[in-house]
Symmetry: C2
């Protein structure tokens, strides 16, 4: 199949300068540091009406991910797993998603968010409103990750 092209609409600013500095997931740091999603001027018209959503889904390009691998052994596990059974960055298409809490705009096109876990400078591809009616499955089972689940930071949903 032919390749398809995506174009960054901006970038993410976080406290972590390299992938090695990043937390395991965006809900691990307590308190969660404030991050920024910066949308370039050409795409800012698309942000109208974003106020009022408490949570957003950010899609971003893991530009510093290693070469893709279809199988690997996670550092906290002993069995080989398929990449699609993990959230590891070195995927065939290195597009990540984070469900973040949205705290409003710091300036035009500059979103204040928490619960990101990527390196600063990561290219941003899309912003979507988080819809609990279709996106929240709090009872979902964790498969092989169940014994390795990170505890949810208290109050991170609030």
């Amino acid at each position: 199949m032919a390749a398809l092209a995506v174009t960054p609409i901006g970038h993410l600013e976080t406290p972590w300068s390299t992938p090695g500095d990043c937390p395991r997931n965006g809900r691990q740091p307590d308190p969660a540091p404030e991050c920024r999603a910066v949308v370039v001027p050409a795409f800012r018209d698309g942000l109208l009406g974003l106020e009022g959503f408490s949570h957003l889904i950010l899609l971003y390009w893991m530009h510093r991910a290693p070469t893709p691998a279809l199988r690997f052994t996670p550092p906290f596990d002993r069995e080989e797993r398929g990449i699609f059974a993990t959230r590891a960055p070195f995927r065939p298409n290195p597009v990540a998603l984070s469900v973040v809490r949205f705290h409003g705009f710091a300036a035009p096109g500059v979103l204040r968010v928490t619960n990101l876990d990527c390196a600063s400078g990561t290219p941003l591809l899309d912003i979507k409103p988080y819809l609990p009616t279709t996106d929240a499955e709090p009872e979902a089972s964790l498969g092989w990750l169940a014994p390795h689940a990170t505890p949810r930071v208290k109050g991170s949903a609030g």
Copy 2:
């Protein structure tokens, strides 16, 4: 910023042949029809360990979306909204995500899923395990969409 390339890892099979036939979201049809996510052989090694997750996140390319628009007036609303405050397909990067229920494999590389809402033949970009610890925000507020929320089909989380 330079364009980045994504490559389909397979495609989605649904009962809907055109975007116009599709439900408003994947939790609207009751009962939800079974759909298929078909991964091409070259990427099937990445599926190891997917069993045991009750829900997955599928990223796919809305290949039949109209030309992107940064603002539009949704059909069920009267106010103009920014594309990033909606889940409409005609986005700068037409990458959609659906949280689907995973019912196991119909054949090697062929996943049985429910709660998709896209046209059949849609290119599949990624499969991720759904992690309630980071992805579920059942109390998230719906912003301008609150008065238009589709009722959740009973038991769809189960």
